[in-house]
Symmetry: C2
Subunit: 372 residues, 2 copies
Amino acid sequence: MVNGSPRLGIIGAGQLAQMSLAPATALGIDLRILATSATDSAAQFFPVTIGDFRDFEVLQHFADQCDVITFEHELVPNGHIRRLEELGKAVRPSSKALLHAQDKLHMRTSFSDAGLPQPAWKSILNASEIENFPVILKAVSGGYDGRGVRLVSGISEAQAVLADWGRALCEEVIPFDRELAIMVARSPHNQISTWAPTETVQRDGICIETISPAPDLDERTALLAQQIALAIAEHIQLIGVMAVELFDVGGELFINEIALRPHNSGHWTIEGSVTSQFEQHIRAVLDLPLGSTALNAKWAVMGNVLGGEKSDLYRPYLHLFARDPELKIHNYGKEVRPGRKIGHVSAIGENLDALRARVAHAVDYISGKISE
Amino acid sequence: MVNGSPRLGIIGAGQLAQMSLAPATALGIDLRILATSATDSAAQFFPVTIGDFRDFEVLQHFADQCDVITFEHELVPNGHIRRLEELGKAVRPSSKALLHAQDKLHMRTSFSDAGLPQPAWKSILNASEIENFPVILKAVSGGYDGRGVRLVSGISEAQAVLADWGRALCEEVIPFDRELAIMVARSPHNQISTWAPTETVQRDGICIETISPAPDLDERTALLAQQIALAIAEHIQLIGVMAVELFDVGGELFINEIALRPHNSGHWTIEGSVTSQFEQHIRAVLDLPLGSTALNAKWAVMGNVLGGEKSDLYRPYLHLFARDPELKIHNYGKEVRPGRKIGHVSAIGENLDALRARVAHAVDYISGKISE
């Protein structure tokens, strides 16, 4: 039925697709999802199509059943996406925009051309091209959650990394005070909207906590973060939502990474904002007017649950919900592996210290670090 | 995967099951739904089982794949539910509790025995048993949205109704100032929780608008509504959520109807409360600790979209979302038929008059009454 809705196809069925189900269901969107396996997060809650997104025929067949195609990851080969576009498919974001998230060298080059603030960088093939240590070496593609990124302090270490990767992006080490992230959405009508900037807290290269809005962020820096996000969105002709990860050095901001999809640093918007990043992405790619990004509370804190010893993610609800009736838990239905993001916890309210303590407790309890 | 979750079965796949998908998906509940048809609201967004809930073998087969069974309507024959219980299935709410919503005569008898406040009532077979007109005649079972309820002003009219129904519940006409509804949840652990009482506005026996909390409700009456809801929940040993519809006569309250499931008068809780009625129902029937029912804003207004001339429910988003970026629209994916509930609109905020006007505008625009 879903009267009048265009057919929206999402390629990828992880937790980002899973969290897109709620707004798509509320709005009665005619959704289709291409999953890799029946155990994918979204596949457990939605009648997905199963197929390999690296196989162009699978992609084309899926696209033929959709009016608009979007993505929940950056892994679809850019050439495949270009071919879909050549066939007249509405692919949002476009292959050109997506390439910025798929190829870090392309992103750095493109952003330098646009005069966007970045760490000093160059593309290298040999460790001898590195002038001063330490540096950050990044794989040109395929990295996430700290994979594909190395802090390298000497030539032999650099040689080992380059032996693995062949080419690397070599970036200066930015002595940041903290990391920020800002989510932005843009529609084909060129309506653009951002949420409040978020502070992200990393451990071992993986985000473990976000605080929104970023605490003690002066108005000038908040505005600068928004300006950078808007400039990138315009520059790459973004359609959909995008996360921009930034280094904050005393109010000066440098672009670290971008993701052209809903992103971990925007999970807080589910409870913390009138319009979640997942609803906004759907609105943007369908060219619906964007929703309000106003905050639902003074603070929103999100904590990632990383896989630990425990494999039962349900049983902790008994203790945690009794302890904290306002807590929101999101369970990605994933097989538990150490260090894997298997869920997240959110809380919104007035008292930031209390929110952080409640979320940290819940995360540690679920992953089995503490037992009460 | 959905690690550790019990298997929860919902019988019925209408909009109440559809709106249960969001919290079930977030919490990673191992959900199963028994739908009547592939065009049912929830069936468009979830891999349902299709079967006839009036067929005991279908029910039993479905129940065998679940740890806990619940309902999104009152139409499953009570005898079937008793048989499932006899087979040792966990059915929540129980057949005994559900009978109060399935058989209005049983409800009135049971509530009178419990000393709960009700209109004067009696069971009649003949119009001659009616002493004074007007009266309300109610079918003992099967009524909803004004069907099965008649305001009858004379003997010949009463005779005609009784010729149709055989038996009727005959109730005094309560000269109410307004109608209220209150949602309550109770778990097997006997944890009980209510939300703020809601004012419901009806037209032709169908709820068209709810305002939460009910405006100008003095503390004594609000407390009375809660006490009645809690007393019913205890009396019938409710498991799950229940709606209690009340007549407000100058602060005196009389029980009109009950529903042992999420209910239209509680749709506001999706945006308006920390825990929605849909999440709370899942928590209650799974015996998880109940969530906070605190309000997310001063006021929550909900308007029902009734089927009109237009069959495209998607296109109105273009105008409405541009006009009102804070509006929330829920589309049940139903075939449009005049007067049928096909969706609802919600808004929360500080200014009640403005919220009511925004919701009323959206409802009229979607159903085609107004064109801008």
